[in-house]
Symmetry: C2
Subunit: 210 residues, 2 copies
């Protein structure tokens, strides 16, 4: 249990370290400009020069830190994950899942998030951009693992439950609603989905028969 908590702290710690580096105003400005450029021009047409102009810095300032367009876009996408998706430790699986869901919805409904969504769909599943996004999944999953390990440490999960499933199901539902209905999920519906994941839909009297 102690090992689990230590590991979790380490993971949230490394995200914090990245957050500190990104805290430098120049870095923050460049990453924000990169996201905006990506959202408006797409990955293929993105030029480091345009990002520099948008951020009001010399292009060598960008190249010094991120030698390639790929490096820059990876860092920009990572900044969204770090700032938004790593959820606060609310002390319960229900609270953490609600916070995780709200973070996804906040990104989905932000102007940059909306544009990025269209850019990702337009560039397609075999694009370089999608490959960069996939390469970030291990980092993004660290946030999910923090939720999971908290729930395990508090003894909240049923024995034998796949610990990644609660976050995976929730994220899949929110993304699916965005693609299928072109709309984000309201707070009341988010709570309903979280409660299905926590409690299931089966009538209490039917649980023994399952």
């Amino acid at each position: 249990m102690q090992a689990t908590t230590a590991k979790r702290t380490a993971k949230r710690g490394s995200a914090k370290k990245r957050a500190l580096v990104r805290g430098e105003p120049v870095v923050r400005g460049i990453l924000a400009a990169a996201l905006e450029e990506l959202a408006s021009a797409g990955y293929r047409a993105l030029r480091i020069e345009d990002v520099a102009t948008r951020a009001g810095v010399n292009k060598t300032t960008v190249y010094r830190r991120w030698p390639t367009k790929e490096d820059l876009v990876r860092a920009a996408l990572l900044s969204v994950t770090d700032e938004k998706i790593i959820p606060p430790d609310t002390g319960s699986l229900r609270g953490d899942l609600l916070a995780f869901g709200r973070a996804i919805i906040e990104i989905q409904t932000s102007p940059v998030g909306q544009s990025l969504f269209h850019v990702f769909l337009a560039e397609g599943p075999d694009s370089e951009l999608m490959a960069i996004a996939r390469s970030l999944r291990a980092v993004q999953e660290a946030g999910v693992r923090a939720i999971v390990e908290g729930a395990v440490a508090r003894g909240e999960l049923a024995p034998g439950a796949d610990p990644m499933l609660p976050c995976e199901l929730l994220a899949a539902y929110l993304k699916h609603k965005m693609i299928a209905d072109r709309a984000s999920v309201e707070e009341a519906q988010l709570a309903r989905v979280v409660d299905v994941i926590l409690l299931g839909v089966l009538h209490p009297e039917r649980r023994k028969q399952g």
Copy 2:
């Protein structure tokens, strides 16, 4: 309860009626050819002449039934839904959800399903093809409603549960896995997901605190 069952039978009945019409060898051949053409050429490049050639019929035979490309593609996509997605009535929500999930996986892993998946992604969310797919959702939801109404009639759902959520969550998860991991879900994992939806992940002793 009786009204529910009658409605359900009517819905499965109308699917059966469509299935009978489609049962005609010529119709079946043309719809299969249309799916194959769609999977290889995409919607924009699809020509009714090519579908006719592939099906071995005169193009007037196609035009007589489906005056436009849109009509033909709608009928072809509907034939997939009718044949595969409307699940058998297994007598339990668990059985129906497993059958529903297996049907989605079967489509996802079939050669035509794989090609269609890429065609949909390539044509994008604002394409005519996606609009046709969206227009079929009411029909597809009839299958989902049949599962739901069966579960309600058998008293399997917890009071207050959103009856559409079990199927929606399952379908979202399977589609998400296909997009994110480019892989379909194995039978054991399907059962795990169905059981989370039915029973939740929360430890039995924590349920009172929720």
